[in-house]
């Protein structure tokens, strides 16, 4: 059973200011749920850059190699056909399919990597902490360990101007 605390801010400026205070007190904020991207939030939270770009590159490279390799195999080994006297292994005519497969694989690998990593997709359990985080509220999530004292953390949050501090449990 995991315990965690949620609290919210009504304004992005307050959020950034408050987060810096909370961080300075040594409290680790796991995530911030916000209705729109807040500039500078990633830096304050100390989030690492997404690795999605590497997934995309790898997926794209695999797609390109597969696309090219498959055509090369089909048109030289499996089913060679003579198109207008051109050589069987004619690279320019393979390019469109190679390109399309690179794009397709890059896109799919990104979508699936995103869904798997975030445990999203059909049948995923949704947790809505606050109805208004899609509207005008910025919600902090702080995960608690066994030896953390919830009260001291709540004090820190209140001091930093956060509202609606609640302790929650998740099975």
């Amino acid at each position: 059973m995991n315990k965690y605390i949620t609290a919210f801010y009504n304004d992005e400026e307050d959020l950034l200011k408050g987060l810096k205070q909370i961080k300075a007190k040594g409290v680790n904020v796991a995530d911030v749920l916000s209705p729109f991207p807040v500039h500078g939030l990633d830096t304050v939270l100390g989030l690492k850059r997404s690795k999605l770009t590497r997934v995309a590159f790898t997926g794209g490279a695999i797609g390109a190699l597969l696309g090219f390799g498959f055509q090369a195999w089909v048109f030289t080994k499996a089913y060679p056909l003579n198109f207008g006297g051109k050589p069987f292994l004619s690279v320019p005519s393979f390019m469109p399919v190679t390109f399309e497969l690179a794009v397709l694989f890059a896109a799919f690998s990104m979508v699936f990597a995103f869904l798997i990593h975030n445990k999203l997709g059909p049948g995923a359990k949704t947790v809505i902490h606050d109805e208004r985080i899609t509207d005008d509220r910025f919600l902090l999530v702080i995960n608690l360990d066994e030896d953390d004292d919830p009260h001291s953390i709540e004090d820190v949050l209140a001091e930093a101007g956060a509202h609606g501090i609640t302790l929650k449990k998740q099975n």
Partner: protein, 392 residues
């Protein structure tokens, strides 16, 4: 020291003047070592067109962002404007070049007594008087629009009167429409008609994409040079990142158009079209592949990551490579038609004239930069430009 007031110091002027002198000297050397009139004329055309297109992309850069009301480019708007100061200079040189024999030397359709059946059918368009009319109309329209846009931009800087921004917007919209047509038609006139039998519908856009990629490479180089000299400290990694994205994106766009043109001709295999690539591949095999390598492979692989676009140690070398690459691309467009495979080459004339034109372009651009503050502080988007932040 205020780092927004650019002073053109003697050292920089000397460097540019020496470069121009190198260009003139190489012209003389080329003439006396028998490089051939065609080759000299083709090189003059190449460099004139190349640096004229840099000026045009400078203007295009300002115009497009003014219409789109984008904030970030306000920080480097002056660089685009300064580059556009080369349009009248390059235009005048181009007119002189055509009048002083360049036209007759390398354009086969001007030899009116020796026109074959195909060229006779094209006489309604490809004839000398109409060519000059188009030339003057294009260069006149570009120069005037560049002049008035610059004037409105300077007027805006006096007290931030919004009427001048509206005027800039109108002028920009007119320029973008005019440029959409004239960039294509001028590429038929000045480049494609060197091989007057051959034609390609895609050619105009292909040339335009080449102009865009090399133009953005030049903007990156000018901004980096200014930053290196201690000016324009307000242009930070975020702005360079966006310029890098332009360079990256338009290099891919160029490759896309290059390949589209190549593959259709290769696949259809019609003699009147394939002759273009056969000559290029037969006599310029290395240049043919180097062109693709410099303009697509290098920027595509090196500029892919976020870091590469933000670190000047990567961005500037890539911009230099792309700058050279699109010179090579123009070389591939011009030389086979104008000089022919047996006589073309890369020697003193090619390198020297490019250095000369680069010096002239640099002199005009930096001279224009010195005439106004490097940032338009009264521009309504100036503050937005300073607080610009980009994630990806």
């Amino acid at each position: 020291m205020d780092n927004l007031t650019f002073k053109l110091d003697k050292k920089l002027i000397t460097i540019f003047l020496v470069m121009i002198a190198v260009g003139l000297l190489s012209l003389v050397i080329g003439y006396f070592t028998g490089a051939g009139g065609n080759r000299i004329a083709a090189n003059l055309l190449l460099n004139n067109y190349y640096f004229l297109s840099m000026g045009l992309i400078g203007l295009f850069f300002v115009a497009v962002h003014t219409i789109a009301e984008s904030g970030w480019q306000t920080s480097m708007q002056r660089v685009g404007e300064a580059m556009s100061a080369f349009i009248p200079v390059g235009g005048l040189l181009l007119v002189l070049f055509f009048i002083l024999g360049g036209l007759h030397a390398i354009y086969p359709w001007t030899h009116e007594d020796h026109l074959d059946e195909i060229l006779l059918k094209k006489v309604a368009y490809l004839n000398v008087p109409f060519f000059y009319i188009r030339l003057v109309v294009f260069l006149g329209a570009w120069s005037l629009l560049a002049h008035f846009l610059r004037k409105a931009s300077l007027a805006l800087d006096v007290n931030g009167d919004m009427q001048y921004l509206k005027k800039m917007r109108t002028l920009s919209a007119v320029f973008v429409v005019v440029f959409a047509v004239t960039s294509v038609v001028s590429s038929w006139d000045w480049l494609m008609s060197l091989d007057p039998h051959w034609f390609s519908t895609l050619y105009g856009w292909y040339v335009f994409s080449s102009m865009l990629a090399s133009g953005f490479a030049m903007i990156i180089l000018v901004v980096s040079l200014l930053k290196n000299m201690g000016y324009m400290t307000h242009v930070n990694d975020e702005h360079m990142h966006d310029l890098g994205k332009y360079l990256f994106g338009f290099s891919i766009f160029w490759a896309y158009l290059w390949f589209s043109q190549y593959m259709l001709i290769w696949y259809a295999n019609m003699p009147e079209e394939t002759v273009y690539f056969i000559e290029r591949h037969k006599y310029f095999t290395e240049v043919f592949y180097v062109n693709l390598f410099l303009n697509f492979v290098v920027p595509f692989l090196l500029l892919m990551t976020r870091r590469a676009k933000r670190v000047s140690g990567v961005l500037v070398p890539v911009a230099i490579i792309v700058f050279i690459g699109h010179w090579v691309d123009l070389y591939m467009m011009i030389m086979p038609g104008a000089v022919g495979g047996e006589h073309a080459g890369i020697g003193i004339v090619e390198v020297g004239l490019t250095i000369g034109y680069l010096g002239l372009f640099g002199l005009v651009t930096f001279w224009s930069l010195a005439k106004a503050p490097l940032a338009s502080k009264k521009h309504p988007y100036y503050k937005e430009s300073m607080e610009y932040h980009t994630n990806y």
